[in-house]
């Protein structure tokens, strides 16, 4: 078996310029000129705002982190796709609603409290999110329950590290998560129809052995920078072997508990979304097939990007967590 050990000098996945971007380099520079010129205009002319959305885009910051050591052979989904195609019903149910409605979202100050059945409950403020635990890059596949997928270079730390710090009691069997509840900032929480009928705040949960699995990540960034709001700023969960809706965004509360916590999509449609929601090509969604998926890659419409869905989204190492369980019943 050939084991490739990359030189430390070798370019990492996210350092390679996407080919389509490379070919468009002149257009990009040109458009930067337009952006520059238009920003000059808008500073002198108040009417400029009349013609479009003049909301300033959310500012992300560069992060210090250890790059993903594994050489990933699959191509990353372009950053532009990752930050414009989102399911975040707090900001609207359309795929482009979050990027349009979330740019004014305030992430600093932030408070994430870790509580419940633990010896050492604690909370993290905004700066703590980036400083309490060493940050590392993890390139993960993200498989949405709607049968599309992406490859995302996340930055974050293991949920296990955070749980360890809280010193869970032996009675803690589950971990419950909660998204920020702030209808003033989140239009979907204000109006039942704008939010797709979900009872807010959005809640999710994991069994504690799933939560402390080394793959389970709390992400604070992607593509080298802090998360944009539409992707769950300032901190979100990433569970790569489960459907995307398990990876709850903009978390304010993590609670250790002895009972299985309610989860938002399961509450809304228990026959369609289970508590486990492990990626499983042989268990279809009642209304569509989960056997294959479309990988969003930024390639042409005619590129054959429909690929077979893998059990546990290809993360076979989590299989022992479910030994002896009927995964058709526990979907």
């Amino acid at each position: 078996m050939l084991i490739k050990v990359p030189k430390t000098s070798a370019a990492k996945e996210n350092q390679i310029t996407d080919e389509s971007v490379y070919h468009r380099r002149r257009d990009i520079i040109k458009s930067m000129g337009f952006v520059g010129a238009s920003s000059l205009l808008s500073s002198t002319s108040a009417q400029a705002s009349f013609f479009g959305n003049d909301d300033k885009p959310f500012k992300t910051q560069a992060l210090d982190y250890a790059p993903d050591a594994k050489q990933v052979s699959t191509k990353l989904t372009p950053e532009e796709k990752i930050i414009t195609h989102n399911n975040f019903y707090e900001f609207g149910t359309g795929k482009s609603d979050p990027v349009e409605n979330a740019q004014q979202f305030k992430v600093n100050p932030w408070l994430l409290s870790v509580e419940g059945l633990a010896e050492n409950p604690f909370s993290l403020d905004y700066d703590d999110l980036f400083k309490q635990f060493p940050l590392e890059e993890r390139i993960y596949r993200l498989r949405c329950v709607e049968a599309w997928s992406m490859v995302v270079p996340w930055i974050g730390f293991s949920l296990a590290a955070l749980i360890k710090k809280a010193k869970p009691l032996s009675s803690a069997k589950y971990v419950a998560f909660e998204t920020l509840y702030d209808p003033k900032q989140m239009p979907g929480q204000k109006n039942r129809f704008a939010g797709g009928g979900i009872d807010y705040p959005y809640v999710e949960g994991l069994r504690i052995d799933e939560a402390v699995h080394p793959l389970t990540l709390l992400s604070v960034g992607l593509y080298g920078k802090t998360l944009p709001p539409q992707n769950g700023a300032p901190i979100r969960l990433v569970v790569p072997w489960k459907y995307g809706f398990k990876s709850i965004k903009s978390i304010t509360r993590i609670r250790l508990t002895d009972k299985r916590p309610p989860t938002s999509w399961n509450r809304l449609a228990p026959n369609e979304y289970g508590f486990y929601a492990n990626v499983n090509p042989s268990v279809d969604h009642p209304r569509w097939s989960q056997a294959s998926e479309r990988r969003i890659s930024g390639a042409s419409l005619f590129s054959r990007n429909r690929i077979d869905t893998q059990m546990f989204n290809g993360y076979e190492e989590v299989a022992p967590l479910y030994d002896g369980m009927n995964l058709r019943k526990n979907f």
Binding site: S20, E80, K81, I82, T84, H85, N86, Y89, T93, K95, S96, E146, W148, F193, G196, G197, I198, L268, A269, D284, R287, W288, S289, A291, S292, R294, I296, G298, S300, L301, F302, R304, N305, R306
Partner: protein, 215 residues
Amino acid sequence: MPNTFALKLKPNHLFWVKLIIHVAALAPLCLTFYQAFTDNLGGDPVTALLHFTGLGAFKLLLLSLLVTPLARVLKQGLLIRVRRLIGLYSFTYAFAHFASYILFDLQLDWSLLLSEIIKRPYITVGLIAWLILLALTLTSTKKAQRYLGKKWQSLHNWVYLAVMLVSVHFLWSVKSAILEPLIYMLITLLLLLYRRDKLKRIFKKRLNNTQKIQK
């Protein structure tokens, strides 16, 4: 003395009305496909295309069903002459919808297409509606109308079933945001309610026919 209500539609106005319909239907369709091909249609152009063409077909179908009531209320008999054009554009969008689904979403995975049609009620319902619209499109010419005689009208009454099925297809296809499909369903029901007498007649006739057969 010239008529003060000079807004009566005349045959020479029809050209302009039809031109507006051509442009209003074709321009967004071409633009959206252009944006999709150049990857300027959001994160996932395939989903965006499916939603645009599907909703476009539905809107045009509803519009075609609005022509008759509108012509009556406004007393513009000539308006009926644009109904076929709008109906044909509805199928054009429906064709683009199904083609995008097969080409860009399923990517010519025929076995997946077959299993989806069999297993997923919302796809089954959508396909039936599509086949009805196809039949109406193929028989939309004057020649077909003459050839089919009385049968032509009973064939084209199937549009009422088609629009109901499209409405159900839309409602079943969404994950949870059901307000929009419910509004469309309401509009559909209102347009069918307007034709309640005609629909009653159709049902009665069918009922009588089946009873005759049973006897």
